[in-house]
Symmetry: C2
Subunit: 337 residues, 2 copies
């Protein structure tokens, strides 16, 4: 059995209260006493029991990080950054891969809240739905602990959002192609999440802004798996075979853009002259093809950093803005003029 605070107090010849004070860095301890106790603690490598500690403090300094799929490149990066910064600040991370189903998400959150986490971080905009009643579970969670949303926006007490301005980024990306003289820009996406909706809106607005109204035939949803690049290529090939004409492709994700590059190569199209391509997320995938892919960097590093800072502030009792918005950057490479 592991040592308890009683054992240490006996060995050090003090009361458990004093040991506790030393442990928690209280000022009210004589230097010599503190030293004496510390010596015993180190000698026996004593660590306070986490459960008992949690009972006393009503916290184990643990944060629940929820994401649909932590093997997704973008989400994985976010989770990594969040965990590292939390750890630096003395918090541990309970990882929850909830999948994309609402029911599963709900159940997972109920469970995790009963484990007494200090806060919940919802990574990715899949957690916010257009249907208000599907967001009810967020409201409920926020009644117990602060809820942090990464890349989604939802107004509710005790919910804090940190996100990238996907609308503006996509507006700018689309506009840049139009300015280069490309009219028929295919928009390819694979999600209906909050941020996906914002991206699409940015594309539409840019097209409309340049009097390109009839975008409906150019907007396509790819429902397959994004790690099956060849299926994406086939999807585009099929569209072309059916007579759709396009000289630009903008995608909601770099993987989709890879499919577009392969489609172009496969059809001996000159890139970017015959086919310009812009991806999203500025992942390492953009460097994997020849030519390399122009993409939007929405700065996950900055977002995660701000999110954690906000969280620490909130946990410390500070008042914090309910929403932080960052701008993305178009990183030009070889698939655009």
């Amino acid at each position: 059995m592991a040592l308890t605070i009683y054992d240490i107090s006996k060995k050090a010849g003090v009361s458990i209260a004093t040991v506790s004070r030393v442990l928690n860095g209280s000022d009210n301890v004589k230097a010599s006493t503190r030293e004496k106790v510390m010596k015993v603690i180190e000698e026996y490598d004593y660590r306070p029991n986490a459960f008992a500690r949690g009972m006393g403090l009503h916290s184990l300094r643990t944060i629940g990080i929820l994401c649909a799929d932590s093997s997704d490149m973008y989400l994985a990066r976010a989770v990594y950054l969040l965990e590292r910064e939390l750890h630096q600040n003395g918090y541990e991370s309970l990882l929850c891969c909830t999948g994309y189903e609402l029911a599963e998400r709900k159940e997972y959150i109920r469970l995790i809240l009963s484990k007494k986490v200090d806060s919940l971080i919802l990574v990715g905009s899949h957690y916010v739905s257009d249907v208000e009643e599907e967001n009810e579970y967020i409201r409920e969670a926020a009644q117990q602990v602060p809820v942090m949303l990464m890349n989604a926006s939802y107004r509710c007490p005790n919910v804090y959002c940190t996100l990238s301005n996907d609308y503006a980024s996509m507006f700018e990306a689309t506009s840049s192609l139009i300015r280069a003289g490309i009219d028929d820009i295919l928009y390819l996406y694979d999600s209906n999440s909050y941020s996906a909706t914002r991206k699409l809106a940015g594309y539409k607005a840019a097209m409309k802004n340049h009097k390109l109204q009839n975008t409906a035939p150019l907007i396509h949803y790819y429902g397959g798996r994004t790690d099956q690049i060849n299926e994406i290529t086939a999807f585009l090939q099929d569209l072309a075979d059916r007579g759709l004409s396009f000289h630009g492709v903008i995608t909601s994700d770099d993987a989709l853009a890879i499919g577009a590059v392969k489609y172009g190569v496969q059809n001996n199209l000159r890139i970017p002259q015959d086919l310009a391509i812009i991806g999203y997320n500025n992942s390492m995938l953009t460097q994997c093809t020849v030519p390399e892919i122009t993409s939007v960097d929405n700065q996950p590093d900055k977002i995660t950093h701000q999110l954690i800072q906000t969280l620490l502030g909130v946990l410390g009792g500070e008042e914090k803005p309910a929403e932080y918005m960052f701008s993305g950057k178009l990183i030009k490479r070889q698939t655009t003029p």
Copy 2:
């Protein structure tokens, strides 16, 4: 304040012992009593306090998943699979991104053990060193909880290993190129971990097996970041510029293989006739290039599944083998003859 077991017991008109029995599925409860208690529990959505529960049970059903960097594609996949299967079996996952430094790893493990996890899963072979004293921390951890190693091997009581036979996979990959008539096979790697060492040994053995002794000039360590593909390409270009001749490249990771493909394309080499390439991990990267990359699938799905099954067995008090070894598969694509 949240409800306690006392509140529930009062409302249900029973003692806390009975509520506890209902909660923990004891048989010794009359059906009608159980129903009565359950009704109250559900009515108030009562959840037992996790800390108090942990104290009683000496467990919160939490597993520590440690990996150097959860944004690495391969590790991210493994973490995801582990978390999902643990969750299905009623365990939560404490994620720890420890980085690649020994000191940091040690400190992280000490911390995490004090949080009373039921077991530690060390993902990736970086955790096992050639230097025995650098593995001391594993022995110590194993004295407290079962330690599961994914893709590494280390013999020690209470340590269980589940891994892929990287030696055999690399032996086979190398042999296949040699059989195709390629003698000068460059070996490019980026790690000195346990599994990296095994891979290299497999390459060497295959070369030696075919009387190709002088491999030293062909073996190269790339110390840069693997998500900077262009640096990898430049690295190979530099080797070629210095007069090194090679018609095959085998890499310890798919990202490195991407660099090789780009090197080939850049120099107008015919792939695979002038330059054959084999990657490792069979990640989505293999499908990102033209031509697509032949790679080794070391079946992370099977490994993680077995690892969890072993873990559950061990936690349940069963006797389990100390090591499980899986075979990899060479997935042939377009970069090999």
